[in-house]
């Protein structure tokens, strides 16, 4: 057995609240590029000191000046703006790794501009979806407010078994919902500005998920309290967050994960025991369906654009073989299945009846997942590792 550790032998704790290493790295990085940005500063300082104006920005020779965007019936959308020649062309491979806006006069300044190394998702095929403009406009128009739009004052007290089942379902949803915020957030800053439409849509998904986390947390705490977290949920969330590419993670999150959560929201609306819960689930399922639509069409765009579709499909299958199993780990957790069964059955005593109902819904969920894969051009039916019939379903 090791010698007991004495207090005197402990190393001092690092000083709290100081970030010396980080500041030192930052200083070094910008000193390394000193000649580049300091030359710009010097030039500007001299010009201002001379009292000279530089009106080069009035020169429209290389600009798309004068081709004015016209609003359509619902206002001025990205779609309307992209109709103007020179603004709507997305590169197949983005090579502007900074913030210079697509369609601006930027080429003359390229040699002086910094490169943002974090912009790594430069392939349009890794993020584009043909419905992304529509989904972005729809997402903005269909935002709602979890504080005001839910009739919280009408929340009724339920029998204890149903209240606990509802609060457990809400605990699950509170735990899982914001991965659909963290995942796009992780990739959002890696996407160059030339793909601004996708970045904009992902920002709406972040807001949607913040609202979902908020509304389910509030519902649980208003109804009795949060109940149990579960390790199976956590492994599924980790598998999503750590997906090796944006497309793979989007497949796992938006197409499979959110597709299943969409089904849970629809089930939640169906089995809700109060009008408040109905309203919550109906609002959330609308948001979730947008995310699913992006997931389907992003995967389709990826496979359609890939130079070697066969290879890309093989890789996606390999990824899905693992991803499906990890997602299944979450969707078989007792902290999810059993409370839903209690709500479906109508009481704790009728949990068996609820499980029968769950078995029917299970097959429906998986059929929908496979139909979405097929719609994306990713035929998964023969290889799907999630059983189409629920493990407890009777023959």
């Amino acid at each position: 057995m090791a010698q007991p550790v004495s207090v005197d032998s402990l190393l001092p704790l690092p000083p709290a609240g100081l970030h010396e290493e980080g500041v030192a790295r930052y200083e070094e990085a910008f000193r390394h590029h000193y000649a580049e940005w300091a030359a710009i500063l010097q030039r500007n300082a001299e010009r201002l000191a001379r009292g000279q104006y530089s009106l080069h920005w009035l020169d429209t020779e290389k600009a798309r000046w004068g081709r004015r965007a016209k609003p359509s019936s619902r206002g001025l959308t990205y779609g309307d703006v992209n109709q103007v020649p020179g603004y709507g062309e997305l590169p197949a491979l983005a090579d502007w790794k900074n913030f210079a806006p697509r369609g601006s006069v930027r080429e003359p300044y390229r040699h002086e501009m910094p490169v943002v190394d974090d912009y790594t998702v430069v392939d349009r095929g890794e993020l584009w979806a043909e419905n992304v403009l529509t989904l972005y406009e729809e997402a903005k128009a269909r935002q709602w407010n979890a504080t005001r739009d839910i009739p919280w004052s009408e929340l009724e007290r339920l029998p204890e078994d149903l209240e606990k089942a509802t609060c457990q379902l809400c605990t699950f949803l509170t735990e899982v919902e914001f991965v659909a915020g963290d995942f796009p957030a992780k990739w959002l800053y890696r996407i160059p500005q030339d793909f601004l439409e996708v970045k904009s849509f992902l920002a709406t998904q972040l807001m949607d998920e913040a609202r979902h986390q908020e509304v389910f947390r509030k519902r649980a705490i208003a109804g009795g309290g949060l109940l149990h977290a579960a390790p199976g949920f956590e492994w599924a969330l980790k598998a999503i967050l750590e997906a090796p590419t944006h497309t793979m993670g989007t497949f796992l999150l938006n197409l499979l994960g959110e597709g299943l959560v969409l089904s849970i929201f629809r089930s939640g609306e169906m089995i809700a025991k109060t009008h408040v819960d109905k309203e919550i689930f109906r609002r959330c399922l609308q948001d979730e369906a947008r995310h699913v639509s992006y997931g389907v069409m992003e995967l389709k765009a990826y496979l359609d654009a890939h130079a070697d579709r066969e290879q890309a499909t093989r890789e996606m299958h390999r990824f899905a073989d693992v991803g499906e199993q990890v997602i299944l780990t979450a969707f078989t957790e007792a902290a999810l299945v059993e409370p839903v069964a209690v709500l479906l059955g109508g009481s704790l005593e009728k949990i068996d009846q609820g499980m029968e109902g769950m078995a029917r819904l299970w097959s429906m969920f998986i059929e929908e997942y496979l139909a979405r894969c097929a719609r994306a051009g990713f035929e998964r039916r023969e290889r799907c590792t999630i059983p189409i019939r629920a493990p407890w379903a009777t023959a």
């Binding site: 406009e137 609306e269 609308q286 029917r360 097929a374």
Partner: protein
């Protein structure tokens, strides 16, 4: 599409027969009159079919397609089976199912009982079946579910007369 195609012919105050084109046109009128509410809910862009499986005079299906654009119902028309592909999705149910739902909405003053919402009735595929030839077009039913629910909830604002 014309504005006239979403206007009901049945005079105000007279019970509107169900199923009928006029009944859905009355819903469209209500939606368009309550634009502020639908602006709050957000865009709804789809063609929704409503099919009463035994609603035709001969006992066959009676289908109406409602075209939603932005915040309005802009077109309401009777559809034949050949028009099915025009709808993004079609909600199919028996007259008895529709009747129970409409009566529940009326009894609740515009809010159906917990077991009579569109999603509740359609989620398991019965008694309302959501038919669509494309999974993405079917997903529009979910994307606009609250708007569609409020569209049918407006039936509480007028009297309905059932064929049977």
């Amino acid at each position: 599409m014309t504005a006239a195609s979403s206007v009901a012919a049945t005079p105000a105050g007279v019970a509107v027969p169900f199923p009928s084109l006029d009944w859905f046109r009355r819903l469209a009128e209500r939606m368009n009159a309550d634009r502020a509410r639908h602006e709050h809910l957000g865009y709804v862009d789809c063609v929704a079919g409503f099919c009463v499986l035994d609603g035709a005079p001969d006992g066959g299906p009676f289908t109406v397609q409602v075209t939603f654009e932005e915040f309005a119902a802009v077109d309401v028309r009777e559809a034949s089976p050949a028009d099915a592909g025009r709808a993004d999705f079609t909600l199919e149910a028996s007259l008895a199912t529709w009747r129970r739902m409409i009566e529940s909405i009326a009894a609740g003053g515009g809010r159906p009982a917990l077991t009579q919402t569109l999603n509740h009735l359609s989620h398991a595929g019965t008694p309302i079946f959501v038919r669509s030839d494309d999974v993405l077009r079917a997903d529009l039913y979910f994307r606009y579910n609250q708007s569609l629910q409020e569209f049918v909830n407006a039936s509480a604002s007028f009297a309905t007369r059932f064929a049977r």
